[in-house]
Symmetry: C2
Subunit: 342 residues, 2 copies
Amino acid sequence: MEQITIKEIARMCGVGVSTVSRAINNHPDINPETKERIMETIRRYNYVPNNSARNLKRAESNAIAVMVKGVSNPFFGPVIQTMERKIVNKNYSFVLQQVEEDEDEVAMAAALEKEKRLKGIIFLGGMKQRPWESLKQMPVPCVISTVSIHLPEDVENCSIVSIDDEAESYRMTDYLIKCGHRRIVIMRTAEPDAGISDKRLAGYRKALQKHGIAYDPELVVPMHSDAVYYSIENGYEVTKELLTSDRDFTCIYAISDRMAIGAIRAVFDAGKRVPEDFSVAGFDGLDIARYYRPSVATIAQPSEKIADETIRQLFSMIEGKEKGRKVIFPARLLEGESVLKL
Amino acid sequence: MEQITIKEIARMCGVGVSTVSRAINNHPDINPETKERIMETIRRYNYVPNNSARNLKRAESNAIAVMVKGVSNPFFGPVIQTMERKIVNKNYSFVLQQVEEDEDEVAMAAALEKEKRLKGIIFLGGMKQRPWESLKQMPVPCVISTVSIHLPEDVENCSIVSIDDEAESYRMTDYLIKCGHRRIVIMRTAEPDAGISDKRLAGYRKALQKHGIAYDPELVVPMHSDAVYYSIENGYEVTKELLTSDRDFTCIYAISDRMAIGAIRAVFDAGKRVPEDFSVAGFDGLDIARYYRPSVATIAQPSEKIADETIRQLFSMIEGKEKGRKVIFPARLLEGESVLKL
């Protein structure tokens, strides 16, 4: 194994060799940001400043896989970015594996683990089926990230890091009802989905119940299963159909911001207005929700915190310091111009 | 190396073992989509149906690295998704490596190649400096994807697959001028960037020249270098400042759709309107450009074709069938509600 040289580190960082040397030796005469950048590159490439260390045998190849359902979902972009950086900084390699909407991510992860001798696995999104029997067989620690399913007590090698989807969906629905809406469409997956969609539906139902509003299955509207799930286009097409149906409603609550944006555009394209004719709310807290016209009421997930804690939890299990557990972060309701107070 | 079993393939695909068997044996009694999904999973996991083949030694580990500058840029999402699928289908593994804005991606790729013995490298975005001397040293084939820099004749191990950024930027600017705009702000990177931003600026200047409009450096407005490049927030903040300056202009041409969306929202937040007071145009052809209010005039890149050809070209070089070459795809101008015809 050839070792990376100080010259290469310097080139990668766009600085001179002497600057790298100053960073390594904690010399005060260096810009703190430059120093941080150099030190990160050094960690990333496992650079060993001492020449004699170059012949040390390199540690065995360590890989962490991230199994992601819906990699083109912009909500996952910054989460994956943070995870990659942290994994590489720990001198592990980062394997990204996409999972198609109807594939079984746990079976795929098991196969990948056999092939690559992974040290840990992260599941991002998905988890439509309750996967515990297969997960208990997994020979390496796992973290289910951004999905708040129930963690059975006898599962020791798996953690969950997420918001509480049911409680946050309750928060949003409760807010919409307090704004005066009683006929609220919820736009969710076409099939049962224990991972995310069922939880958000449960929170919606609970809020209706608390306010004494009867649950009307007619107002539960499925995404199109032949278009990309949670996409703008899906929200647009579903809303277009909804507006020509004779269903009576004043508000659309889509369980992703991108679907909510598609819904808003469909309302305007049908010659109606948001929020004057229909209110619309989303979920996730993407930047576009804030900058759309109208801005979209949403539940902002703390995606940076979730990504950080996912990695911390995984390495803590890899190092045998902790057993699997569930870590739940609170989210925030962001009001938006898209919701009318009746 | 344990081999994956037919049972595991069946579970991953959510079908029975007999269905997998029908797919493998080309039995007519199977839904074509199900068959395609099963065959893809079989390729992905290198499943060998013949039992006797299980003891064959597995081919050496093959990895392709994708070096991406700006992984949270939604333009790259579907491109990465397509590349990953195609690489995995060829039984190569997919390594995703992020590159920070000011890091040297070629030096990083060289270090990664040393460490992982890559079979090929894809550069997605970036390439601010002309990297030819380092690229010529690279021991494996490379493809520079989505960046249309000049390819010197003596570089044989590297291809470029992209749109023609200068020509497409000319197309957009020419369109804006034909709509009656003569004072057009261009919003681009803060520093020189041979990869994308300089080319788009060159196309803008060429169009001005063709129409006899003097180039005014005051109308070249840099993104903030302390915020995420090409982001909505960056476009918003830059436009907010621009609107309080005394510069005279009727149109803002941002070289990314997300910056254009930030610009539009900033115009409205300042109490003005798009397109009545200011026209705005973007670049890339993201779905949100079509669904924003107003929809955003943009240059739609054929990202699927670029991703396909990048992979085809890379494997053709790996197999020794082709030398490096430049492949340019035409893009399309999409008109939008964001541009007023004066």
